[in-house]
């Protein structure tokens, strides 16, 4: 067998390969209105970069690998990525020629690439994962001779690369549109939304045809196997066997990737049995396999999620055919969502601190809070860390100093509006308007709650002072309704005006965009939510689409004030501290939305709710949502969605920190 790298032409005698080529370019033509042709068909493509000994691992065994050549080519100013396995060279006889051609990546234009994640572990091989705009990803490409940085540097010379705010190892490709623009344009043109099932339209009737084509196409788009996971097959389809085969292959690849990046999952402890199941499960094959496992291992019925009517399905008319939940969330969360522990107490918290008060392992602390919350008396000490007001590596003394400095700073800020005389106020409309609004709203915030109840309540006045001071601290954002809902529990917990102010400031660094005048922070999140539902419950997504509900305005209140009006006060605080850990994701709140929607999906679809009815229904869920099982569902959904879920959420979506700085100063240093 030849050890040479085979060029594309050399593969033309391979029947499978030729078929996949043909189908592949046919479907690409379909997606792109024939504007583009693959550079491989014309030899005028300019070779930009070539790297030998780049391999993928189709199985979990490091010894089984397919080596090949990674290339960057450029044609008509479009950069293309391709990876062609060496002809005949596989490390193991079990890997067939078919496998080899299956994984071939043929000239993917960077316009279809969303991001590149690099892994450069100190031990082991470097690799990159290329994620497409559709949310799907190619298997990891291992650089056996190193050179990931060089590769990224070359890419950067030809396309715009920006480092993700969430993960320093993720580089976003051509991400110069603001999230708002992307949101708006996508919302207005729902048909242009990239679909979880890859680049193929997933609407009803023609799906079999599409699947057939997709399967053949899978040779150069390995990742499109994912779509099979998300769709329930009704009839036997010969292409299905192949797709499941591929699915398994792909999941083994991801398993290998996971096992070689031990840092990803090795930190879980104390949940042994569940972890074992977790690790034995291929990430990307969740839909069918998972429900089987759930059935096998958990015969007990899921505990009651519902403590009231809104979730009950009894009224559903029998003649309405509700599509099955592709993820069967109630089973899913039994397997993937871990049970909660009791809230963290002082003794436990102290164990996270070194002798000078530094949090030694902030991730372990966040994990602990994620899985059980914090005892109320301890909240005032831990919330400032979670919110980002205290640095985890600060000492007791440094925090003491910070508090005193910040208290003076707060006093100065407060003095700014306190020194406005009645005469000055007369000529200061903006100030009067804001003050009027805040005055009106603080007396309408949680007044039924003990801490704020009664006439002349001092805490209400403190809330007013903090909000007014904040509107001077951040004059551009000012005051908007909903802010008092956030401040109220913070003040209740911190019981200190200056400390509450700075915690609120830290929270608004992330959630301020919720209150932008143009509502772009809200629209971005609602858009991300629609993408997640599309990924995690395609039938429900299609239902919303058909019923003109894709704007997700019915989730507006959930997101604006992070479920503050949906749970009782104590439960809200529990949920918030879980969300603020950013443990699995900065956007767990969106998965919480998906979790609740999935629990109601059969009622929503069964009763054929229109926008108005749905909005009213969602509003009336308030007070009837069980927190613990919802968080558990959300965790399960978040883990299952994995990178596809993360890729559904545009960079900079609140509560991620704003991208602006990164956009202004794009990575001059670190890529190279």
């Amino acid at each position: 067998m030849s050890m040479e790298a085979s060029e594309l032409q050399d593969l033309s005698d391979d029947a499978d390969y030729a078929a996949s080529q043909q189908q592949g370019s046919a479907s690409m033509m379909r997606c792109d209105s024939g504007k583009r042709s693959s550079p491989s068909e014309h030899d005028d493509a300019e070779l930009i970069y070539l790297k030998d000994n780049v391999a993928i691992h189709p199985t979990q065994f490091a010894s089984e690998r397919i080596s090949g050549r990674l290339k960057l080519t450029k044609q008509d100013s479009v950069l293309f990525l391709s990876w062609i396995p060496y002809k005949g060279q596989t490390s193991n006889a079990k890997l067939s020629e078919k496998d080899r051609s299956l994984y071939t990546i043929t000239a993917v234009p960077f316009t279809e690439v969303r991001s590149i994640r690099r892994h450069t572990p100190a031990l082991g091989w470097q690799y990159v994962i290329v994620v497409l705009t559709s949310g799907l990803a190619f298997p990891p490409l291992y650089f056996y001779n190193g050179g990931v940085r060089e590769f990224l540097a070359i890419v950067k010379q030809h396309v715009f690369l920006a480092r993700s705010a969430e993960d320093a190892n993720v580089f976003l490709v051509n991400d110069f549109q603001s999230p708002l623009q992307r949101t708006l344009s996508s919302l207005e043109l729902p048909s242009s939304l990239p679909v979880a099932s890859g680049q193929y339209p997933s609407d009803g009737g023609t799906s079999n045809d599409n699947q057939g084509r997709a399967s053949a196409d899978v040779g150069n788009r390995v990742s499109s196997v994912n779509q099979y996971g998300l769709r329930k097959q009704k009839s036997h389809d010969p292409t299905r066997d192949l797709s499941i085969h591929l699915l398994e292959k792909f999941s083994l690849v991801t398993k290998f990737a996971r096992d070689t990046t031990t840092q990803l999952f090795s930190e879980n402890n104390g949940f042994g049995s569940i972890d074992k199941r977790w690790n034995n499960q291929p990430v990307h094959s969740y839909p069918e396999k998972l429900s089987n496992i759930a059935e096998e291992k958990h015969q007990e019925s899921p505990h009651s999620y519902l403590d009231n009517d809104p979730f009950k399905d009894e009224e559903i008319a029998n003649n309405v055919d509700v599509p099955d939940d592709p993820l069967e969330v109630n089973k899913l969360s039994l397997v993937w969502g871990k049970p909660r522990q009791p809230p963290m107490g002082r003794k436990e918290f102290t164990a996270f601190l070194d002798s000078e008060g530094r949090v030694v392992e902030s991730k372990a602390l966040r994990e602990r809070v994620f899985y059980g919350g914090i005892e109320h008396q301890l909240r005032s000490e831990v919330w400032p860390f979670l919110l980002g007001y205290y640095a985890y590596d600060s000492t007791y003394a440094e925090r003491e100093y910070l508090r005193s400095v910040k208290q003076m700073e707060y006093a100065t800020l407060k003095q700014q509006w306190q020194s406005i005389s009645p005469e000055q106020a007369k000529r200061f409309t903006k100030y009067r308007e804001r003050k009027g609004l805040i005055d009106k709203d603080v007396v309408r915030t949680d007044r039924a709650f003990e801490y704020y109840e009664g006439d002349e309540n001092l805490n209400v006045n403190i809330m007013r002072d903090i909000l007014l001071t904040y509107s001077f601290y951040n004059f551009d954002l000012g005051y908007c309704q909903g802010m008092s809902d956030y401040l109220s529990p913070i003040l209740y917990v911190m019981e200190n005006e200056s400390e509450s102010f700075w915690c609120f400031v830290a929270l608004m660094e992330r959630l301020g965009p919720n209150f932008n005048r143009d509502q772009n922070g809200m629209h971005t999140q609602l858009f991300a939510l629609s993408k997640l539902v599309e990924l995690l419950d395609t039938p429900l997504h299609n239902y919303f689409k058909q019923n003109d509900c894709l704007n997700y305005f019915f989730c507006f209140r959930w997101i604006l004030i992070q479920f503050k009006r949906e749970f009782e006060y104590e439960k809200t605080m529990q949920l918030w501290e879980v969300l603020w850990t950013h443990y699995h994701s900065e956007h767990l709140h969106l998965y919480v939305c998906v979790a609740i929607l999935k629990r109601c999906r059969s009622k929503i679809m069964g009763e054929q709710m229109d926008f108005d009815t749905l909005l009213k229904f969602i509003n009336e869920l308030s007070g009837h949502i069980d927190l613990e099982s919802t968080v558990r569902d959300a965790e399960a959904l978040c883990i299952c969605a994995g990178e596809n879920g993360a890729a559904s959420i545009p960079p900079g979506t609140p509560p991620s920190l704003p991208l602006d700085d990164i956009m202004l100063y794009p990575l001059e240093d670190d890529v190279l």
Binding site: D309, E315, L437, K440, D441, V443, R444, T445, D446, R447, A448, C480, Q481, G482, S484, D485, F515, N516, R517, D518, Q519, M522, N551, F553, F556, R557, L560, I561, R565, E607, F611, D612, T613, L615, K616, F617, N619, E620
Partner: protein
């Protein structure tokens, strides 16, 4: 609970003019000065009788702050009636009426009945907008007008019912095709004469609603 018709109402106007209090006074017959500010939208419902016909009002109480306008606009769809509220003690809430009206005209159906309400008329000593100004504005823009007080309940009942009566009359006059729900009217039980006839099933949404 059966009804002959269901009308969708929407309450709009600046923040703090008393929209939620008007709703509560109408649905629960009580005044609650201490209540949480409205985020997004809240719902209320009540049965009334017009021309011996039971009519259910489903009322959408919206958030008033300017920033939420883009969301509020999506609530107009399919509203049969709107209560446009200002506060007679705060001039600026009257000055903003034109922009609210513009929103309503743009996003609601053209036959929506609009009632202008000058609220807080119990605070006459702090009045900043005269009754005549309110009347004048209503006349210019083809609105029904009333001053009311959510606190004393003065004219609250009347405002909601008069709006419903106007809608009902439009139905009788054939202005609406009641089988088209985009007008914010659903036909329920109760033997309605007319082209669409009675239709059932519309009461399935938990009947009493929030009220």
């Amino acid at each position: 609970m059966s009804y002959a018709y269901l009308f969708k109402y929407i309450i709009i106007g600046d923040t703090g003019v008393g929209k939620s209090c008007l709703l509560l006074q109408f649905t629960d017959k009580r005044f609650q000065p201490v209540h949480d500010l409205t985020i997004g939208v809240e719902f209320g419902a009540r049965m009334i009788t017009i021309d011996n016909k039971p009519i259910k009002l489903q009322i959408w109480d919206t958030a008033g702050q300017e920033s939420f306008r883009s969301i509020t606009r999506s609530y107009y769809r399919g509203a049969a009636g709107a209560l446009l509220v200002y506060d007679i003690t705060r001039r600026e809430t009257f000055n903003h009426l034109a922009s609210w009206l513009e929103d309503a005209r743009q996003h609601a159906n053209a036959n929506m009945t609009i009632m202008l309400i000058g609220n807080k008329c119990d605070l006459a000593h702090r009045r900043a907008v005269s009754t005549e100004e309110g009347e004048q504005f209503a006349k210019e823009h083809g609105l029904i007008f009333m001053e009311a007080s959510a606190k004393t309940a003065q004219n609250v009942e009347e405002a909601f019912i008069k709006t419903a009566a106007t809608i009902y009359k439009k139905i009788q006059d054939g202005v609406f095709d009641v089988s088209n729900e985009s007008y914010g009217i659903k036909v329920g039980y109760g033997g309605i004469p007319g082209p669409s006839g009675g239709r059932d099933g519309s009461t399935s949404q938990g009947g009493g609603c929030c009220g």
